[in-house]
C-alpha cells in the first residue's frame, strides 16, 4: 500500500541523533551548521565526512544566521493539512554567509517582498508540535 503524502512528507520533523545539535541550537535561537575541523568547509545537509577534503572531524558551530536571498517564491498549494489556512508561504533559498544554500521561508506574517540578492537574517519560530525552526527576515 503506497503511503499517502501526509504520511511521508510529514510536516512534523523527525529529530535523529545526528541532527540533534541542530535542534538543540535552535532551542537557543541559534542556527548551527556542521563545519569540517580540517579544512573549515561548512556542510549542509548533515554529513559524516567532509564533502571537500574527506575528513571525519566534523563539528557543530554557531553560524552567523545571515545571508543573501538566492531566490524566492510563494507556496500557493499544499497537500499538507498543516498548511491549511496559512498559505501563501513566502519561500526563500538563502545563500548563508558560510557558503551553504539553505531552504526556508520568511517569518510568519512577513509580507515583505524580497528580491534575489537581498540581505536576510535568521529568526526562529515554533511549528505546531513545538519544534523550533529557522526562518528569515529581510535586514533593514
Amino acid at each position: 500500500m503506497t503511503p499517502t503524502l501526509a504520511e511521508t512528507a510529514r510536516a512534523t520533523p523527525l529529530v535523529d541523533e545526528r541532527s540533534l545539535p541542530f535542534f538543540e541550537a535552535a532551542e537557543r535561537g541559534v542556527l548551527a551548521l556542521q563545519r569540517c575541523e580540517a579544512c573549515r568547509t561548512f556542510l549542509h545537509p548533515v554529513r559524516g565526512r567532509c564533502t571537500s577534503c574527506g575528513d571525519t572531524r566534523i563539528a557543530w558551530v554557531d553560524a552567523s544566521g545571515r545571508g543573501r536571498v538566492w531566490s524566492h517564491g510563494r507556496l500557493r498549494r499544499s497537500y499538507l493539512p498543516e498548511h491549511e489556512g496559512v498559505l501563501p508561504l513566502a519561500l526563500v533559498l538563502v545563500e548563508l554567509d558560510e557558503g551553504v544554500r539553505f531552504a526556508s521561508r520568511l517569518a510568519s506574517g512577513d509580507d515583505t517582498l524580497v528580491r534575489t540578492g537581498d540581505r536576510v537574517a535568521v529568526v526562529f519560530e515554533r511549528l505546531a508540535d513545538g519544534t523550533p525552526v529557522p526562518v528569515f527576515r529581510r535586514e533593514v
Binding site: 503506497t2 503511503p3 499517502t4 503524502l5 504520511e7 511521508t8 512528507a9 510529514r10 510536516a11 512534523t12 520533523p13 523527525l14 529529530v15 535523529d16 545526528r18 541532527s19 541542530f22 549542509h44 545537509p45 548533515v46 564533502t51 538566492w70 531566490s71 524566492h72 517564491g73 510563494r74 507556496l75 500557493r76 498549494r77 499544499s78 497537500y79 499538507l80 498543516e82 498548511h83 501563501p88 508561504l89 519561500l91 526563500v92 533559498l93 544554500r101 531552504a103 526556508s104 521561508r105 528580491r115 534575489t116 540578492g117 511549528l127 519544534t131 525552526v133 526562518v135
Partner: protein, 388 residues
C-alpha cells in the same frame, strides 16, 4: 561536420514500443513494461530469444525490478541491470546500451521505462508526492516550511532566472502554449484541449512563479527502445535511428559561476556527433517544468544565457517555428515517461512517423534528460543518417 569518436553512429535505435499512456488504469507497471518490450521487439522485427540485453528504469511508483526478465520470458540475457538517474535515466540507458553493443557485449539491448503511479480518484500531485520516502533529521523541517517535493525548488530556480535575466511569466507560458500546440497533433497526448496565454495565466498557482501548467503531467504507461549495432539495425524492419552523440554530466547544485551540467553534457555529446547547436534541426527536451526547457535551450547553445524565454516567446519552438521543440507535446501536455518521452518522440520524428506533427527536416535531433534539482543530466544526439 564529422567525428572520429568510435561511438559516433556505431549504434542505432532499432525498435520502439509504446503502451497506452496517461490515465491508464488496471494494469501494473510490470504488465505495461512487458507490453512495451514485446511491442518494441515486434517493431524492430527481432525475435524474443535474440534479445540479449535488458536495462530497466522504474518511475515514481517503483513498480518494476529485475524480475521483469522473468515476466517477459527472456532466456538468453548477456547483460541486465536496473538503472536510476531520475530524469536522466533513459538517456543513460541508451548510452550504456550503445557502449555495450559497440563493444560486442550484446547484440540488442532493450531499454524500458514503466510507471503506474496514477490511481482513479487521486490527483496527480498526490500520486507524485505519495511515492516519496519520508525524511529524518535536519531536512525533516522542510515540508513544514513549504519545501515538499521538487516543485518549490524548480520554481525558485525559475524565479532567480527571472530576477537575473528578466525572464517573464509570459515567456514561461510560451513554453506551455507551444507544447500544447504540438500535443493537439499527437493522438497519444493526454492534454489536447486548445491553450492560449490567457488560459495559462488563469491556471491555478502551485508555487509562484509556477502555475499548474508550468508543471508536467503524471502518467501511467511504459516505453521501450531497443539499441542495436548500426550494422545489425540496417537489416531490421524499421529505418535505424542512429546514436550520433551521447554524454552525461552531473552537478551538486546549480552554480552560476561554473558551466552547468547541461552545458557540459551537451558540449560532450555535440563533440562526439561532430556538430554544434546550429546544426540541430529538432529538439526533444526534458520538460519536467516550463523553465527546464528555457534553461536547457540556453545551456545547449541555441541562444545565450538569459535569452531562452525570448526564444520561446518568438514562436520558434511551436508548430511552424524554426526550432521545433517537444513535438509530441512533451511531458507538459503529452505524457510523463521521464526521459523516454523525448527519446520516443525523437525516434518517431526521425522515422517520419509523426503524422500531423511530422517536422520537415528531422535530420539532427538533440535529446535531453534532466533529473534531481538540476543534479543529473544526459544528452543524446539522434539522427536518421549514419553520418552527415
Amino acid at each position: 561536420m564529422s567525428s572520429n569518436h568510435p561511438l559516433a553512429g556505431s549504434s542505432a535505435i532499432s525498435g520502439l514500443g509504446m503502451t497506452e499512456l496517461g490515465r491508464v488504469y488496471g494494469r501494473s507497471a510490470t504488465d505495461l513494461a512487458v507490453d512495451a518490450v514485446l511491442r518494441a521487439l515486434a517493431d524492430a522485427g527481432i525475435a524474443k530469444d535474440e534479445l540479449d540485453g535488458l536495462l530497466l528504469n522504474a518511475g515514481i511508483s517503483q513498480g518494476i525490478d529485475l524480475s521483469l526478465a522473468q515476466a517477459i520470458g527472456l532466456r538468453g540475457l548477456a547483460l541486465q541491470t536496473q538503472m536510476n538517474g531520475f530524469g536522466s535515466s533513459a538517456g543513460q540507458m541508451v548510452g550504456y546500451a550503445a557502449m555495450a553493443v559497440n563493444a560486442g557485449l550484446a547484440k540488442h539491448v532493450a531499454c524500458v521505462f514503466a510507471d503506474a503511479p496514477l490511481v482513479p480518484g487521486a490527483r496527480a500531485g498526490q500520486a507524485y508526492g505519495g511515492a516519496r520516502p519520508g525524511r529524518r533529521g535536519m531536512m525533516s523541517i522542510l515540508p513544514a516550511l513549504g519545501f515538499a517535493g521538487p516543485i518549490p525548488y524548480y520554481a525558485l530556480h525559475a524565479q532567480r532566472h527571472m530576477d537575473l535575466y528578466g525572464t517573464t511569466q509570459a515567456q514561461l507560458g510560451a513554453i506551455a502554449v507551444s507544447s500544447r500546440g504540438w500535443a493537439q497533433k499527437n493522438p497519444l497526448a493526454t492534454m489536447r484541449e486548445p491553450l492560449d496565454l490567457a488560459g495559462y495565466h488563469a491556471s491555478p498557482w502551485i508555487v509562484e512563479p509556477f502555475h499548474v501548467l508550468d508543471c508536467c503531467l503524471v502518467s501511467n504507461g511504459a516505453i521501450c527502445v531497443i539499441v542495436s549495432s548500426a550494422e545489425r539495425a540496417r537489416d531490421l524492419a524499421r529505418p535505424p535511428v542512429y546514436v550520433r552523440g551521447l554524454a552525461q554530466a552531473h552537478q551538486l547544485e546549480w552554480d552560476d559561476a561554473a558551466p552547468s551540467l547541461a552545458q557540459r553534457s551537451s558540449a560532450a555529446a555535440f563533440a562526439m556527433a561532430g556538430c554544434t547547436a546550429s546544426d540541430v534541426t529538432l529538439c526533444e527536451l526534458y520538460d519536467c517544468y516550463t523553465f527546464t526547457v528555457i534553461t536547457t535551450l540556453e545551456d545547449y547553445g541555441f541562444c545565450k544565457r538569459g535569452e531562452g524565454g525570448a526564444l520561446a516567446e518568438s514562436g520558434a519552438l511551436a508548430p511552424g517555428g524554426k526550432l521545433p521543440t517537444n513535438t509530441g507535446g512533451g511531458m507538459l501536455s503529452g505524457y510523463y515517461m521521464w526521459g523516454m518521452t523525448p527519446i520516443s518522440e525523437a525516434v518517431i520524428q526521425a522515422r517520419r512517423d509523426g503524422g500531423a506533427r511530422q517536422v520537415t527536416n528531422p535530420d539532427l535531433i538533440a535529446v535531453s534528460g534532466n533529473g534531481g534539482i538540476f543534479n543529473y543530466h544526459a544528452t543524446l544526439v539522434l539522427s536518421p543518417h549514419a553520418r552527415s
